[in-house]
Subunit: 453 residues, 2 copies
């Protein structure tokens, strides 16, 4: 059955209320003031820190006040479910994440969660009873900023990452100290639940994620909505270069095994490889040990994030980096260094569910038709996401797709990250329409027939 004939009420979200709710949630973990307004700050809400506990409490309270059933699972993923006519089938979920980068913004992840709450508010005030239940999910540690595995908790839910691996993940930290594990921090803030973190125990009918684009394309092309068809492939590596520590003043260049110099050459080489293949390569973390001014480091460590829309080209890029790094370590670093690769994340290219894409596109056309600009031009386009999201994991276990909104100057993972209240509201309205259409679709398809007999 096609989704072309779906007839649902044309509802729009309340732009002002949505913006207020978003900024309300950002009181927990606000940081990096860049303008005069109280909302002109970035965020530093690292997963499972004190501010993340506070925003979790806020989320649960808000969802309860909307009449939802709420619970959290073993990974601290938060769920808020609004009942429909048939409550024995899995809910349609709207999900994203409330954690941020250490110098992050107010929209990445946060918009998707608060838009989900706004959708529930619109359903409530219009007394709409959906066919099945509808809910909101906040995924733990999507960013992978504090615990270095992105989307780890949707990964556990999808049974792609063993829970013991996830629980054992420790904070990114290069210095002695005592880095905490996810499990320790879940316990500390009281968000390690009993509910299994598994799609089997906690299935979804579908997963829709509204997110800022985090790139410049929509803004550059004057568009309002990106209908996301998939996600580019990416891999994260932790790379260790081992040389020999010796004195910076007395060791001739010819006699050196300089781990930092080798690592620097590798970072430059990865950029050259990425440019050549029209892909991306980024080193966000780099450090050296023992770390003193006048001693060559015996060890340099850096991360490498490589991306391409095609799995096969990404593989070619990684192989080119491997060969070039090996050459640098062996031939281009005087007495020779050793280089070791460790895979942190391997995320193949993702193709979202065609029915989900279809209802998002229908909703987009409907929402944008109300805008005055629409008469002259189409204000949306299909897109491939540059970044990974929890939707990559949910897509393995339930129909999934995403909606993008414009991002000022394409800047994200930065305190000045911004999406206007109007654009946020358009995205949330598209989300609302997509959920209602998918709800109607599954009812027509007979998803509830067994339950109704």
């Amino acid at each position: 059955m096609g989704s072309s004939e779906l007839d649902v009420p044309s509802l729009m979200v309340d732009a002002k209320r949505l913006a207020e709710c978003l900024h309300d949630s950002c009181q927990y973990g606000a940081a990096h003031q860049y303008g005069k307004l109280s909302t002109e700050t970035g965020m530093a809400r690292l997963s499972l820190d004190d501010s993340d506990k506070e925003v979790r409490d806020w989320f649960m309270e808000t969802a309860n006040s909307l009449g939802c059933r709420t619970f959290f699972d073993q990974m601290g993923n938060l769920f808020a479910i609004r009942s429909g006519k048939n409550n024995n089938a899995p809910p349609i979920m709207m999900g994203s994440h409330l954690d941020t980068q250490p110098t992050g913004g107010r929209y990445d992840g946060i918009l998707g969660v608060v838009a989900g709450l706004e959708v529930l508010k619109v359903l409530n005030e219009n007394s709409i009873e959906t066919e099945g239940s509808v809910g909101v999910v906040n995924w733990t540690n999507e960013e992978g900023a504090r615990f270095p595995k992105m989307a780890v908790s949707s990964g556990v839910w999808a049974e792609e990452i063993p829970i013991e691996t996830a629980w054992g993940l420790r904070e990114v930290t290069t210095h002695g100290g005592n880095p905490k594990s996810i499990k320790e921090e879940l316990d500390k803030i009281g968000y390690r639940g009993e509910h299994p973190a598994s799609y089997r125990a906690n299935p979804f009918a579908a997963h829709f994620e509204l997110h800022i684009e985090q790139g410049p394309i929509l803004e550059d092309e004057g568009l309002k909505i990106g209908v996301v068809h998939g996600v580019q492939a990416f891999k994260w590596f932790d790379i260790t270069v081992r040389g020999r520590d010796s004195h910076a003043g007395t060791t001739p260049l010819y006699a050196r095994k300089d781990a930092v110099l080798s690592a620097a050459k590798m970072v430059v080489a990865a950029n050259t490889v990425a440019t050549h293949h029209s892909g991306l390569a980024t080193t966000g973390i780099i450090n050296a040990e023992p770390g003193t001014v006048n001693t060559m480091a015996h060890t340099a460590r850096f991360t490498l994030d490589v991306r391409h829309v095609r799995d096969d080209v990404l593989e070619t890029m990684v192989k080119a980096c491997e060969a070039e790094f090996r050459r640098i370590a062996q031939e281009d670093s005087e007495k020779g260094c050793d280089v070791e690769w460790k895979v942190l994340v391997d995320s193949p290219a993702v193709q979202f569910n065609s029915e989900c894409i279809s209802v998002v596109e229908q909703s987009t056309v409907n929402v944008l038709s109300a805008l005055p600009e629409t008469s002259s031009s189409k204000l949306w386009r299909p897109m491939i996401s540059g970044a990974g999201h929890d939707s990559c994991y949910t897509n393995l276990r339930c129909p999934t797709s995403m909606i993008f909104t414009p991002t000022r100057q394409g800047i994200s993972h930065n305190p000045t990250e911004y999406c206007s209240p109007e654009d946020c509201a358009l995205g949330a309205s598209v989300l609302l329409g997509a959920v209602l259409r998918y709800d109607r679709l599954r009812a027509r398809r007979g998803d509830f027939s067994d339950l109704n007999c």
Copy 2:
């Protein structure tokens, strides 16, 4: 008056006792075991840490047991003075340092201090009364490894570094936390003295420093002693590259201000400049903020240690790096980064005192003449030190020179750093002979005549 006619007793130190004393002192801060023997470890005795306090207590106790007058100054520099016939003139000091790199060895600095104590033991057991007093000094934080200013405390003594600057120096640390200052740590271990850290209040007649070469030259040429004429020029910089943090997956290469990529290109460029000028360039510390895998860093910081035997060529090297870094930041990093230089240390080329060099050379010839190998070849050479030492500062305020011993494979600032007990003893015997010659020299010159009248 020349020093050629000086006649002093031909004394040799006790090689076994010297080695035992050295390893005895290394029980405090031993780390990084690399072999089976208990002495086959490196050291991690960072300035003013708990193990540094212990070795200071050990030094003071040992010196007191040898009948010395001991005291420490405002920078925690330790002094042990053995009386001579005339005790109102300044002492001849034998000095070096007991602090080490975090992955350091058992000889760098330590040999010079324990050799000083061994010289006093030989004087005691031979009941030698020197013309003037003779002593040993342990300088605080020579390495600059924990507090990033090398030889800071001899620098204060020379009145080249204000004491408030030195006291305020904080631990090298990139992570939040609360880095401690030198003053706080001096107070914590009880070694902030009342005695002014100043060559005016605490003058020396001369300063002799025995040290391992820390390079491969003596070993490569089959020599036993380096008679050090001076130290190459070096500068240390802290370099900050500022770009813009944004998402690694959604920011096209053309739109990036990637601070890490720029820094990596600069590290490679500095190495090219050093190679071109036959100098040295080393980056021992590098890091990035905010430091997550999938965010370009907004800031990258690295240190640069550049060296050359000539001041003018060093200046040319620095200017070449400045120009190249500027070009990389502005032109070769897409949307452009900013680069900021901060000087940490500026140490011009040093020429030691000719009389000190002369007595060291006489002592060397005398000591080596006792070896069987000497008949066939000369076992010493004049040298320029690649590394900076406390002697660079003392040289500004009193006659100074240094003595080098061979270093296995030229490896230093590394746990496997090694100088054989026999070679250590040859160096200490040269030190003994140099001190006795300089003592005789100043008596003949009439340094004590005012005091004796």
